[in-house]
Symmetry: C2
Subunit: 381 residues, 2 copies
């Protein structure tokens, strides 16, 4: 199989990830840090090491500010609901995933004011638009680092600088860029960074988290047992315990740690370059075909390693079905849980076909896909 | 090592659990059901099979009413916050875990009325007390099936019948009993059942869930992408999608499915009997020793497979430390995230030493532990 669905979940993982999960379950399977015996301490050590690796990758000064969640969606919900109160104003783009738009739509019903700025699908959100939208009650700007539909990157650097100047918080959804693009929460003025473990970070599903800048205290989504400090009837103040009630996914975090170690070992620049050339080859090939609609940044510009396209008026679901059944190529059709992005692109409600690449893909696989798409476009498949 | 910390996380797991996690990651590592290609469908099939196995184990009529969460704590938070509104009254016991008491304490600040009934540490909550506490605005009774500190089981059958008669909902926290005691949500009149995957169900950490009776609609804890039905700006109504935003922990759920298959294959009665005789041997041995304080149901009565004890005035942390360092026995000291239970028992704030057993423990291990405790009690270790 040719796997081009890495923006949903990356596959395969480095061998070390499989091994780390298995060894954690078999040899260090106790409850992390809760019980004090040596297997519990070993499990706690795994969690701490992964916390430290996340901090290293994103230049987070203190690993204790990395909170683990079960996926990016939980990190985004925690960030949004934890920081915003009725009367607050929040700014977002028209390219966001339902993991941002749906919590915001729910919170709008409770008195949060939301400004959704219409956004270029090839350039991302214009910082001048953001500046003009800031009001006296603007508390937060929430943006994906890159769109999961067009791959376009918002200019986070410029928007972060602007937000910091205006005293507005910046929250970034790194689901499509962590592990593929450099992210430095200090240099980019990011206050809250949501990430998932099972995409570019090459870890297992069931992992993810939220970086919370030192000095920010959020309302937790959940309360419960936090291991230490069991006495108080309310949730402790200390980070990360405040936000991590119940037993963590230790084997998943062991795998995530192995994924990040792999990235640090290969080097982010090397991974980025491999994904860039693969994506450019795919995009260039598609541009040269008749009857193909392409969306997002033009060839040569930064984009997350994914390409959305349509073939004439063919249903994306049909195209994906043929790619899978006839050519054994895994793609994803439809709205990709981001209907707003498709409304902005003019591809709502049918959506697009998305091919998303990863470090383990090859030129040969790209060429096979281009052949396949060419055949489908010519009704030869 | 002798592992007696199964009430925190069970270990080891059946070999099939390790295999299922590994094979899911290696062979079926795509995003479950989101993308339509065959590896995505295989991943979706894993999730569905585990949902069906949970339903089978708890006699849940429709697997779609099983919602997966990352642990029991999330299931409890979803149930409590999803069903209770300001002005509602809720009844609970004085033996509950912080995963119940802390959400309730937080909700009390928002106008939920909480009655915490003082509860017998050896008999559980008296149904007559519950009946007397029901008010016109009582919406919910929330109880653990068994205490994680004393092992006592609340009489859920009788309380369920009472609750159904009075039109009050019953939510049960099965963290300490699922996989060890029969649970039948229909026969026991349970409306909401929170469970964890990594204890008696023999699955990996990072799994758990909430059964929601047909006809109940809860406010979700989180909103986001739910795979299908991406168009609406608000969360879909259908269960389980309404409550499962973001990518699920598919490898974890593969392992949980293997754990439940193991239980169904061995038979719950066989597992219960093995855990019962091991626990009785441990309890009986401790009862015959001088200077040991024991808590919970008397010998011969039902209890979850765990024993809490103290040796004279020795600090539980010190006893556990010696058990680990000198005898290589994993125990858990302290409050076990349930300070209310220790307040009820008179062991607050120092707590107790807890030994919790599982199907894979042996008589020999129990005898070694009894020898060790005897030596510690006699200051010979």
């Amino acid at each position: 199989m040719i796997y081009f669905d890495n923006a949903a979940t990356s596959w395969p993982k480095p061998e070390a990830v499989y091994q780390a999960v298995d060894q954690c379950l078999r040899k260090k399977g106790a409850n992390p840090s809760r019980s004090g015996h040596h297997m519990s301490l070993m499990a706690g050590q795994i969690v701490w090491e992964t916390r430290s690796l996340v901090a290293q990758l994103f230049n987070i000064p203190n690993p204790e500010r990395v909170v683990f969640t079960c996926n990016a969606t939980e990190g985004l919900n925690l960030g949004l609901k934890g920081i915003l109160h009725p009367g607050d104003h929040v700014i977002t783009s028209s390219l966001e995933h339902n993991s941002v738009t749906r919590p915001l739509a729910t919170m709008e019903e409770k008195g949060i004011k939301v400004t959704k700025l219409t956004t270029s699908i090839s350039l991302g959100l214009d910082p001048h638009q953001v500046a003009a939208a800031i009001q006296s009650n603007t508390r937060l700007i929430i943006l994906s680092h890159a769109s999961n539909v067009t791959g376009v990157l918002h200019p986070i650097d410029a928007i972060g600088k602007l937000a910091r100047e205006k005293g507005v918080l910046l929250m970034v959804d790194a689901a499509q860029t962590a592990g593929s693009f450099p992210i430095d929460v200090q240099a980019m003025d990011i206050d809250l960074l949501a990430f998932t473990g099972h995409k570019g970070l090459l870890g297992p599903q069931g992992t993810g988290g939220l970086y919370i800048r030192d000095g920010l205290s959020l309302t937790p989504l959940k309360e419960g047992g936090t291991g230490g400090n069991s006495e108080p009837s309310l949730q402790p103040e200390a980070c990360p315990e405040r936000y991590e009630s119940g037993t963590l996914n230790t084997p998943g975090l062991a795998g995530l740690g192995a994924g990040i170690r792999f990235i640090l070992q290969i080097g982010l620049a090397e991974i980025r370059e491999q994904e860039r050339v693969l994506t450019e080859r795919l995009l260039g090939g598609l541009e040269s075909m008749p009857n193909i609609s392409l969306f997002g940044p033009e060839l040569g510009k930064d984009r997350a390693p994914l390409v959305s396209f349509n073939i004439g008026n063919k249903e994306p679901g049909e195209v994906s079905f043929i790619l899978d059944k006839v050519f054994n190529i895994a793609a994803r059709p439809g709205l990709h849980c981001a209907p707003d992005a498709h409304r902005t692109m003019g591809t709502f409600p049918q959506g697009t076909v998305r091919l998303s690449l990863g470090y383990f893909n090859t030129f040969e696989e790209v060429d096979v896909a281009l052949e396949a798409i060419s055949a489908i476009a010519a009704n030869r498949a």
